[in-house]
Symmetry: C3
Subunit: 282 residues, 3 copies
């Protein structure tokens, strides 16, 4: 196994070389901030290219919570500069035969395990191009750690992508794994959108997969059911809600969420990720 970096592919690249990218890499993992795993990925990235700008998007995804990761990846996408390489390592299948994909749209790229992490990007950006990672690229060591692909595969591959060598890493075009959690079922007869809770944020706001675009065409909100609870208020801002009354609003990424002003909707209503919701419209 790898005990130190071997970055022959990057050899000779030193500060001041024209090959230096100054590229931006945004990290999205479930490694947490307490074990050094995320920090070690940053060390590896800087070993590959000391000029990289490495930005922590988040390392506090719930362990193995691919759905939350997919939501956060989409919500960040357009707000990072063009050229940004997202490195999304939420990877319950590390060490198995799951593939690794490269996906690009709007001048940004992500490298991620092929496990659904790019599901919401796929839904929201029909032009997303997805390729498998060429695993036999010389920069990607064969005798790598079986347990820490973030350090040994994703980091050097992301560094290559950020330095403009993405083409070398592209394998075949592939149809990526898509999670069912982001699918909307529209019952037009009864005028109900069926969806799920895909993320619960720090404040307890409970975010569904229903995008403001799903209610287009003159339709408007009537009420939302989640389990046995009904939410009847739709507001524009958290401050528009009365205290202790659950409300619906379209949040900062334009997905429908359930919120309680200065309190936790998830706690008050007992909401969990994956819970089904029904949005009644007219």
């Amino acid at each position: 196994m790898l005990e130190s970096i071997e970055i022959s592919h990057f050899n000779g690249r030193r500060k001041g070389d024209s090959i230096m990218s100054g590229g931006i890499i945004a990290l999205l993992t479930d490694f947490g901030n307490r074990d050094g795993y995320a920090g070690i990925m940053k060390g590896m990235l800087l070993s590959c290219d000391p000029e990289l700008k490495v930005v922590d998007l988040t390392h506090e995804i719930e362990p193995f919570a691919v759905i939350s990761a997919a939501y956060i990846l989409y919500s960040a996408w357009a707000f990072f500069p063009e050229g940004t390489v997202f490195c999304a390592v939420v990877d319950p299948g590390v060490g198995s035969s799951r593939g690794i994909v490269l996906a690009s749209v709007k001048e940004r790229t992500v490298i991620a395990p092929d496990n659904g992490v790019i599901s919401l990007l796929c839904r929201m950006y029909p032009g997303l191009e997805v390729f498998s990672l060429k695993s036999n690229h010389p920069a990607l060591p064969g005798g790598t750690s079986a347990t820490f692909h973030g350090r040994d595969i994703f980091a050097p591959a992301a560094a290559l992508l950020a330095s403009g060598k993405g083409e070398e890493l592209k394998g075949e075009a592939v149809n990526p794994v898509i999670s069912e959690s982001f699918r909307i079922h529209n019952d037009r007869g009864r005028r109900i959108l069926h969806s799920r809770i895909i993320h619960i944020d720090r404040f307890g706001n409970s975010i569904s997969a229903i995008h403001s675009g799903d209610l287009k065409g003159g339709h408007s909100f009537v009420r939302l059911k989640i389990g046995s609870r009904v939410v009847t208020e739709m507001v524009q801002t958290y401050q528009g809600a009365e205290a202790a009354i659950p409300v619906c609003l379209f949040g900062s990424s334009n997905f429908l969420e359930i919120a309680v002003r200065q309190s936790s909707a998830a706690q008050l209503l007992g909401i969990s990720i994956g819970d089904e919701i029904s949005l009644y419209y007219r």
Copy 2:
């Protein structure tokens, strides 16, 4: 609502332009590190100016804990380089009519909601200059998200400030909202300073609003009362305390705190933020 960045005001600014700042922005929020909100602010800042150095001061302020934020903002102020722009987004009133302020002293600037976050700066730096944010500046989009001002208003405004365009954003001079929590009441007759706990740190050290300067003029510590508990020891360092004995000391920002060596004073004494304390002096 905003679905991607529109940074026309920054257009044409690319690496190498003389307009590039390389400025430092220090972020102080209650967004947490798990939802990507803080990361998205960083993406937005780099979209405005890829040369910015964005430093996480903290994103783990207790949700809506304006008092803790005010303490940490002050405690960091003088230790960041001159020219630093602090971006302090602890904002329970997002979406309401609360204002936004720009405050400057000692060659550093902060942009924050006008809700008391700059209270301790005001108390400790009488020369602090405070202005309202000109909300109609072309770099600050009108059709912004009602729920994520950190991304849509604070980040682009902070990027402008860091690139030396602060003057354009300054509105009227204003008297900012000041929190009562930082006021000291000196009962000179009975020789008691009345104050409150303003922050409890990770180690359980419980920090009050009493500054070492409040005991000047030859006065010295006799004892401290908090609820029904009395602390009679005053030490210079945590190591100066005996095990399991609560002590007082002036901490790293020169505010009086209650501590227990290698243990949690807050837990042992049941201290909460906002608790009243009485410092008896002679």
Copy 3:
């Protein structure tokens, strides 16, 4: 006490000066991410040298957990670029008479309290050179805070080291404090390696001090005992394990760990840091 930075030693150093390092500093502390302590260290580092690249390795070491810190420091060492200065502040003895050490090997350096934080580096790199910090260096203020050496001593010293002035800070060669937790006792007669759990990661993987090198010479794993529990499976990857069955594997830094696939071994087996283990081999 220090209320603001006094960085006379760094005076005159401004962007563009040839003395600028662009050096990398990796921070490893138990300060947490919620109080601003880690952020203030970053501010201090940038005040000393605005060109530094400051990387958060982790600030979420359990308070005072020197053993975990020693493990993470070693596991990160070789993956950061040559020239990196690690600044490791896990320091239960702050304010006492404990020393501060500088240790170097493989073109990387660490500054740390002399309390065992460099124990695993010492064991794994016999060539590690260790010196005391010259505490009377003019860049290190005498009238410093008694409680926040991370800000007042470690940060300016690390900035000096990263700018190539390490020689000035070196005092005498010293024998550092070594923790017993990393010692392996090999009972060759009964073919048992005795060791301890030195770190438990976010996923509950419980890492021991037994390195893959300790089993060299044709020996192989038979079983592991921890308390009354026995682990009989040895696998290559987490995915190689059956659900709910504790297994052993050599992790990403080549130390033996106990894991359960997509679950927490520490929780399932009730493992704590410091627990003794016995590895039976043949």
